[in-house]
């Protein structure tokens, strides 16, 4: 038997075909109800987004400040708001998400950075934090990144915050462009 043809009730047909090569292979179907996914099915890692900060942003001293990610690289589901700087899980897209963040906190003066914190907020509350603290040998700037997997519901929203503690009490800047990243995508599970 070369092919098996399954004819639709009203129209169409699906042909199950074996390759014209030597050897015997076995495909075992799962003993459960469901849909077989092919290489052209809609199983993709979306929603997916990536954004950056378009221009340097001022950080006030010892103040957790929402990072102004205002430049879209891509956003498959229009789920990132460049006015509120938040990613919101769209309707029908709950699931587990890989989330990544990168900022560079710059005190703008040598040996002036005492500590810096990079936060991931979920629904307005701290979910993850990266805390860099120097008791001596202060530096000027530090790049901080984070990566995590979150289980998100429809309507959950994410944002990134940064904090600076400078020796001269003048705060600093969040650097822009390639120094920054806020990206994520839903995992196929």
């Amino acid at each position: 038997m070369a092919d098996i043809v399954l004819t639709g009730d009203t129209s169409g047909a699906i042909t199950v075909a074996a390759p014209a090569v030597a050897g015997t292979n076995t495909i075992t179907l799962p003993a459960e109800t469901g849909t077989i996914v092919t290489s052209t099915s809609a199983a993709t890692n979306t929603p997916a987004f990536a954004v950056t900060i378009g221009s340097n942003q001022t950080l006030s001293e010892t103040t957790a400040t929402k990072a102004e990610f205002d430049t879209i690289i891509f956003d498959t589901d229009n789920a990132f708001n460049t006015s509120t700087y938040e990613f919101t899980v769209p309707t029908g897209a709950a699931g587990k998400y890989q989330i990544n963040g990168l900022v560079r906190v710059d005190s703008e003066v040598g040996a002036n950075l005492s500590s810096a914190i990079f936060y991931l907020y979920k629904n307005g509350s701290i979910k993850k934090r990266m805390y860099q603290y120097y008791t001596s040998n202060y530096i000027r700037a530090i790049a901080i990144s984070m990566s995590t997997i979150l289980d998100l519901e429809v309507g959950d929203y994410l944002s990134l915050y940064a904090y600076i503690n400078s020796v001269d009490d003048t705060g600093g800047k969040l650097n822009s462009g390639s120094y920054t990243d806020f990206s994520g995508h839903r995992l196929i599970t």
Binding site: S60, T62, T63, A64, T65, K66, T84, S115, Y163, G171
Partner: protein
């Protein structure tokens, strides 16, 4: 004068650690409204009023 400096002017004996360790947290949501005191858990000093910070 930023919010941190206003608070330090009111309470000069506060330290940076008070702000880093979440005894006092300041936040700015980048919505044009500026920084505000998100939490105040200092055991001695009371939270400043808006009038004191103005």
């Amino acid at each position: 004068m930023n919010l941190y400096k206003k608070i330090m002017t009111l309470y000069p004996t506060l330290t940076k650690d008070d702000f880093a360790d979440e005894v006092i947290t300041l936040q700015d949501d980048s919505n044009g409204k500026g920084a505000y005191i998100k939490t105040w858990n200092h055991p001695t000093f009371k939270k400043p009023t808006d009038e004191e910070l103005s």
